[in-house]
Symmetry: C2
Subunit: 174 residues, 2 copies
Amino acid sequence: MDCCMATSPEQESETSSSLEGLERQIVDLFVDGVRVLGLPRSIGEIYGVLFVSPTPLALDDLVEKLGISKGSASQGVRALKGLGAVREVEGNGERRTYFEPAVDLKRLVGGFIREQVRPHIESGKKKISKLAEAAREEPDPERRAFFQERVARIDNWTRRGGQVLPLLQRILGE
Amino acid sequence: MDCCMATSPEQESETSSSLEGLERQIVDLFVDGVRVLGLPRSIGEIYGVLFVSPTPLALDDLVEKLGISKGSASQGVRALKGLGAVREVEGNGERRTYFEPAVDLKRLVGGFIREQVRPHIESGKKKISKLAEAAREEPDPERRAFFQERVARIDNWTRRGGQVLPLLQRILGE
DNA sequence: GCGTTTGTTCAAACTTTTTTGAACAAACGA
DNA sequence: TCGTTTGTTCAAAAAAGTTTGAACAAACGC
């Protein structure tokens, strides 16, 4: 595994893109960033290009600037909209739709927590109550006590995790 | 992409393992858990088996209980030790080494932050200062102002991220 | 209606990550 | 010393995840 420990040894992305210096650097920074969050590369690229663009961009701009397929651009933008990290620009007379990035941390963190973190905590809760039930049914008293202690511990972790989230959002809200 | 939004439609792992009910449930919970953190499945399985075992286990126990290879078990335990999530049990007369899980949240979160989060923040900082420099060199004043605003924003995010971490550890410390 | 532009979908191709297993090293007792 | 047990390493196989591209749908103006 390479996923654990150690600062990974930087690798520049060599794609057929038309990004110049600063743009490329910023895009790479976001590629790294989303990687940490477990999101695919193209998500970081797309957000990066929007973030570094003084004007909103359309799908075809992303295709051209990043050298990715239209399909990738479409899917990437959809995911970013789902995270609340990108929104459509309203009310220009144009036919095509332009996108701009959300740039305040509160919104970004909030979207990530809502879409990526909460669902896991929710589904975890269900599993934990099943677990508690299973532990109660262990016949051997010594094993039962042990299992119940473990389950209680997991439950406690989840509870604390749930408490931390709103706090996090409050601290990061500007 | 499936990585974004939506509670994923549960799938039971069907391996040639010798885990019974409760054990299997707990292991699956940890598999999900580490997946969210971007760590490989076997890491979650191994931690899970240790967590649910009343006694410390040796590598061969993991191989047998999980139906994974010895190589996998060895690498997984190494990674978990690196995260501070598993430690060797000292001072039994035995030849083989036994492992037990760390079960307090403070240590687990601390290890994860130290190994997985901090290195990225550190390497990010370097890149951001290069970025600031590049922005200063943009000749066009309007573009320069825009780029500098963006870079400042990223810098601010990083700074806040760095501040949140110790706070997080404090809140989760028992 | 018809041609054009814009965006979406999804199976197949591709890429990356994870796991395996066979070869190796270390520790130990006989 | 030798055989056995225990653990590590790493190239290759397998699995998982991502991107592509061609086919399709929708919106629009003429």
